[in-house]
Symmetry: none
Subunit: 244 residues, 2 copies
DNA sequence: AAGTGGTCTAGACCACTTC
DNA sequence: AAGTGGTCTAGACCACTTA
């Protein structure tokens, strides 16, 4: 069953219809109403039943395809995709990364301040030495369990109000039009320090995955420098490789 | 300049217009006709000049956004995205990876055999339970110093002679036309086991970066399953990220 | 206020799969 | 032959950026 009413209820008034429709379909897949390998109703069917245009249905399905939830076969139908590990070489904040893994992201704040930039931050961002930055330090949780220690830094000029960051930094950046579009990430392995082990709930000397990320806006401006330490026993980083 | 004629010439008759338009725009960006940071003509402009609908223009731009060539800013324009140097999200074997880092790769062989596939290898490759595989186990060195412990597995059907592998597995696969073109890589952090620590020259319990790679040929056949343990103090994995 | 991208509609025809 | 996704058109209004 799928009703127009469910669609309208699925989001705020300003949420685009295709996003709401995608949310509705995603939910039905997750709840098992459409099983893996099943065909969805045809695009024309969905369009008629939900009283939207076929283009809107396609936009919704496009979204879910990019998320890896659905797959289309020309002339045949649209199917629920087998759950394949999503390469995380897409640029996503912690919140979205975890949503893709089927987990709920949370935060325990340790610091949320405006601070003068450290020397290496000045260099990384290309700032004036007197420049100030927003500093966000928190324990990131997955389904309530500590997963990572995160320290994100954004120049004050690109994110003036830190109150806007409640849970997702990327959502806040998106709202003011400073969303990053590309990034570079360096992954290393090392051992948890004493302070880290306390926050992450692991022994001192446990394996952690250290990730340093630099994210850039469309015009090449660097927006974000984030250094994180992930629990080695609970997190992996999957990336897609291509031959030249 | 941009002409309808260029568009029609850009591909075979059956090639969709939006694909041809994307190819045309990609070319202009590569040739520097649109420089990095520049705004493209507006979607309406392009649509009118090329005598196509705006939806078609958007489809073309969507394609190029997914390739990382362009990026859009709502209310502002469509821009040429900053080019980010492609780091190690390219599929390369150990030898080439190190060459790119300015190091010389070497090997200390531990095992080079034809063996029956283990159960998880049977599943991973989709082989018959009686199938045999080439098994390559070695200590990989960088400028003579131990860097990683590597265990590569290739189905015998795809690499009949193991003598052909002297130093670079990828070079050997290339010679018989079974070169991988895409791969999936999973990176985790953990601690060195006793056996590993001996081979790598580190203490037991030192941090190691574990990398599991699955590489595929153009037709989707999986060629290689390699599990490696890299010294955490000497190796990092850098990847490029892109927004959807 | 003008121009841009973001969303949406109601149709149409084509290419492909399935029966 | 019927049904599916793939492409395309010509318009419309909204949200946002820029000046």
């Amino acid at each position: 069953m799928m009703l127009r009413q469910e669609l309208l209820a699925a989001g705020g008034e300003t949420t685009p219809i295709y996003v709401r429709l995608a949310a509705l379909l995603r939910e039905k897949v997750q709840q098992g109403e459409f099983a893996v390998g099943d065909a969805l109703p045809s695009e024309r069917d969905i369009a008629e039943r939900m009283a939207v245009s076929r283009v809107t249905v396609r936009n919704a399905i496009d979204l879910l395809m990019r998320e890896g939830v659905l797959s289309r076969r020309h002339g045949s139908g649209t199917y629920v995709a087998p759950r394949i590990e999503q390469p995380s070489s897409i640029l996503a904040g912690f919140t979205e990364d975890l949503r893709r893994r089927g987990l709920v992201a949370g935060s325990v704040w340790l610091e949320k301040t405006i601070d003068t930039a450290t020397p290496d931050e000045v260099i990384a961002f290309g700032l004036a030495v007197t420049a100030r930055v927003q500093r966000f330090r928190r324990i990131r949780t997955a389904n309530g369990e500590p997963l990572a220690l995160e320290h994100a830094v954004v120049p004050e000029t690109l994110l003036p109000e830190h109150d806007s960051v409640t849970d997702s930094l990327y959502a806040a950046l998106d709202r003011i039009g400073n969303k990053p579009v590309t990034g570079l990430q360096r992954v290393t392995a090392s051992l948890a320090t004493e302070a880290e082990s306390g926050h992450l709930g692991v022994d001192e000397g446990a394996a952690v995955l250290r990730i340093e990320r630099r994210a850039y806006m469309a015009d090449g401006t660097m927006v974000e420098l984030t250094r994180s330490a992930y629990r080695g026993d609970r997190y992996d980083f999957i990336s897609e490789l291509r031959a030249l």
